[in-house]
Symmetry: C2
Subunit: 221 residues, 2 copies
């Protein structure tokens, strides 16, 4: 996972993260309230994280795919604050936190890597606030699709065709809108020939159009 590590470092790290764990579709990797003692790197599969309010309302806070890290929010109180649920059969690397902490003292590269991963998550969260706080439904969904396509592409998949692993309701929860609005907005994108939709198969026809929806240019004047 980390780059720029020496052979020795890699071996050390391997000893820490060699433990694998399978999580079947629908199962949770961890739940809010559970004791935190490890973070997890997704090796394969697809996860969602969500938090639940006292009144039962759920908010999906993220979708994680291969290479992304889960559970960092648990450090502060030694207990997880969200549920992580596999949306398809998945495998993760278990990274016991105490070991990570200990080893990163000897390997500055790893230490810095951990900071970068957490920092990246903070930046992502800022973007989420921007989305949820000041974008309209269309813009949010377009940004969501563009982001998903980009992440899939970075993993060697097609940037234009994808199979969503989550329901409309989960997308809606993530984007702060109702499932009906997600569905309607998808339909509107189809009408505008931006995408093609067949159930959870999405084909992006006009990526530039989506992008311009997701991040509108500065108004001329």
């Amino acid at each position: 996972m980390p780059v720029g590590l020496s052979q020795t470092e890699i071996e050390q790290i391997d000893r820490v993260v060699s433990n694998r764990k399978r999580v079947n579709k629908g199962q949770s990797l961890f739940n809010a309230g559970q004791r935190f003692d490890a973070m997890y790197a997704v090796r394969s599969g697809f996860f969602k994280t969500l938090i639940t309010a006292p009144d039962g309302r759920e908010q999906v806070t993220g979708f994680q795919m291969a290479g992304e890290i889960l559970g960092m929010d648990g450090i502060v109180n030694s207990q997880h604050t969200c549920d992580a649920i596999a949306l398809e059969d998945a495998e993760v690397c278990v990274m016991p936190y105490d070991n990570m902490e200990a080893i990163s003292r000897d390997f500055p590269t790893l230490q810095h890597h951990i900071h970068r991963v957490m920092s990246r998550e903070l930046v992502r969260d800022q973007g989420m606030m921007m989305m949820l706080g000041s974008m309209r439904a269309e813009e949010r969904l377009a940004a969501f699709l563009v982001n998903l396509a980009q992440r899939l592409n970075a993993r060697g998949f097609s940037a234009s065709e994808m199979v969503l692993r989550m329901t409309r309701e989960e997308i809606g929860s993530y984007l702060g809108m109702k499932l009906e609005t997600v569905s309607r907005t998808f339909s509107k994108f189809v009408d505008d020939t931006l995408i093609e939709v067949k159930q959870r198969h999405i084909k992006i026809i006009n990526m530039d159009g989506l992008r311009s929806l997701a991040a509108p240019e500065a108004r001329s004047l």
Copy 2:
């Protein structure tokens, strides 16, 4: 700032964070795009952080007061991703990142503390997503007031009376609503005798009422 440190540790850390910096009201501590080389601990005063979209829309991502940390989002790309602006004359401790990294290798307590601070911010962000994604204007503003009162109280101020350091527009940006809606909602809270409002002076009359608005109980059945 950190707790549970030995005298030696504290001295070491002091050497790193002894640099102070003043920031006058309205000035920025750093701006998005600037090179990142230090994080900052607020000693006194009050900050807002905000990000700006390509089309100029701004989103306030947080308000920081004494003891809180600014700039952690800059680690990942060695450049700040948001602006930090003082809402009143302020003073911060400058914590050069390279030094922090180096010293935290020798002091596990500090190392863990850094992780906790970043993790706490991740948890806060999750809460923000919940607010922005699935709460209504009333609930958001109530949660905002309750949170502010709690943080002020933790710093030795009254939990029931406060002076807002930010405008209605900044509150609105933070909470994903327009300034008019913030104003109207304040007025509604006054009508409901939850608070008293005189410009930026807020007096909380019925904290329990606010709390129940901010985090509605599970519906009976």
